[in-house]
Symmetry: none
Subunit: 223 residues, 2 copies
DNA sequence: CCCCGCCCTTCAGCTTGCTGTCAGCAAACC
DNA sequence: GGTTTGCTGACAGCAAGCTGAAGGGCGGGG
């Protein structure tokens, strides 16, 4: 794949580039929005990896401009943990997915594949979970759709955010603190059982069997 | 792992050092940024544990300098609860993770493993044990996950603590007193057969073949 | 501009399941 | 066989987690 990486933290950028080169992708790198725009015009890339926090301008403007100009090049946002609001803005501006720094390089590969597959015209990869009594639950991360036993169910934004976090690390147990941080602005210290409440809501919609409680540690979805 | 700990609260620093030494890591300690810089230059560390609030200078400058010089050594920040801005600055300066004081020492271990793994790009190091009738048991220390014959099993915090201790010294026989000390805060004199009870509970979940009794001495896991 | 409905957060009371203890049984050793 | 050591089921106390209800905020529609 031809990949354009726009990132200013050098050590991270180089680690990403090396990892991708090792898997046979072609990678161009820059830390400047202006430069990135020129490169995008000149070269057809398969995926754009975009840090939103850049020295010479808002990365998000680049994305917005692209989309306004009709570009459909898939874009994955790279954000720091404390920039949740950026992440949301990014998705709204037309990003396809995001990764929170520091991220696992293998996870990056997986998301690149997923995004590329999505754009190649193949159907969206559905995540299948087993619900109560073996009922099937299908989650479409791309279109934010959930089917429970064939019937479409709507999730509110917070419910979705929570489910999304859990699905990103299937098999891993995430602490309430981690989940809370994902749902709220960094530093917005919430002192309540909000996470519990949303787990409860999700269970009502998806069935009890999907989200597993690990007492004293957090929550988990089967890997 | 070779770990450099930069922390000025002596009591905390010593607790962390003792905990890490117990799990076989090599730990160097200092409370000075200047000294830390010298040590970093002289020795290749696997992880840097960095308090941002130090007497002789801003810890964050150390981190920034490192990164500017091209170092990719993973760094975990230790901050007090009321220093959220420090935390954000730290992540932006290139830290990989953070812990809020006071933190659980086991949580520290987990983060260390996670960060080291992420950096190396390798998947989680799985510890494989043979259970009953040759059944496979896989333990993932980083994500606190246990697979018994392919099925994910949850352990309670005490069960995990006990298993963790035994796994850190495979092949060695640990006395009940040693294990008890590891399970409880020092001073908490437990006068019962708690360790036996937890061995029993672990055996129920993992199978009888994993933990071996050495009568009159203690318990052992095959090396 | 007001009303209405939806979503979010908080709280309180209830439920669940972890924990340490003990007692009785089993196994090992002499 | 007797003694010592280890194993495990039962149980009560308690902390963690669950969930129904209520109040507030925000946006859309009238």
């Amino acid at each position: 794949m031809r990949i354009l990486l726009v990132e200013d933290e050098r050590y991270l950028a180089e680690a990403v580039r090396d990892h991708l080169l090792a898997s046979g992708d072609a990678v161009d790198m820059t830390d400047s929005v202006v430069e990135a725009e020129i490169m995008l015009r000149g070269t057809p890339y398969d995926v754009l990896l975009l840090d939103l926090n850049l020295p010479d301008g808002k990365g998000i403007d680049l994305l917005r401009g692209m989309r306004r100009a009709g570009s459909v090049t898939p874009c994955i946002i790279l954000t720091a943990q404390d920039q949740i609001s950026d992440r949301i803005a990014g998705l709204n501006a037309g990003a396809d997915d995001y990764l929170v720094k520091p991220f696992d390089l293998n996870e990056l590969s997986a998301r690149l594949l997923a995004v590329a597959r999505r754009y190649s015209g193949n159907p969206n990869p559905l995540i299948r979970l087993s619900g109560d009594e073996g009922g099937a639950i299908e989650v479409d991360l791309a279109s934010r759709t959930v089917l429970v036993n064939g019937g479409q169910t709507d999730l509110t934004s917070r419910e979705w955010a929570l489910l999304d976090q859990l699905l990103r690390r299937p098999g891993a147990t995430l602490s309430k603190a981690q989940l809370e941080e994902a749902l709220y602005e960094f530093g917005a210290e919430i002192e309540s059982n909000t996470v519990e409440v949303y787990v409860s809501r999700l269970r009502r919609k998806l069935g009890k069997a999907v989200i597993h409680t690990v007492r004293g540690v957090g929550y988990r979805i089967e890997g």
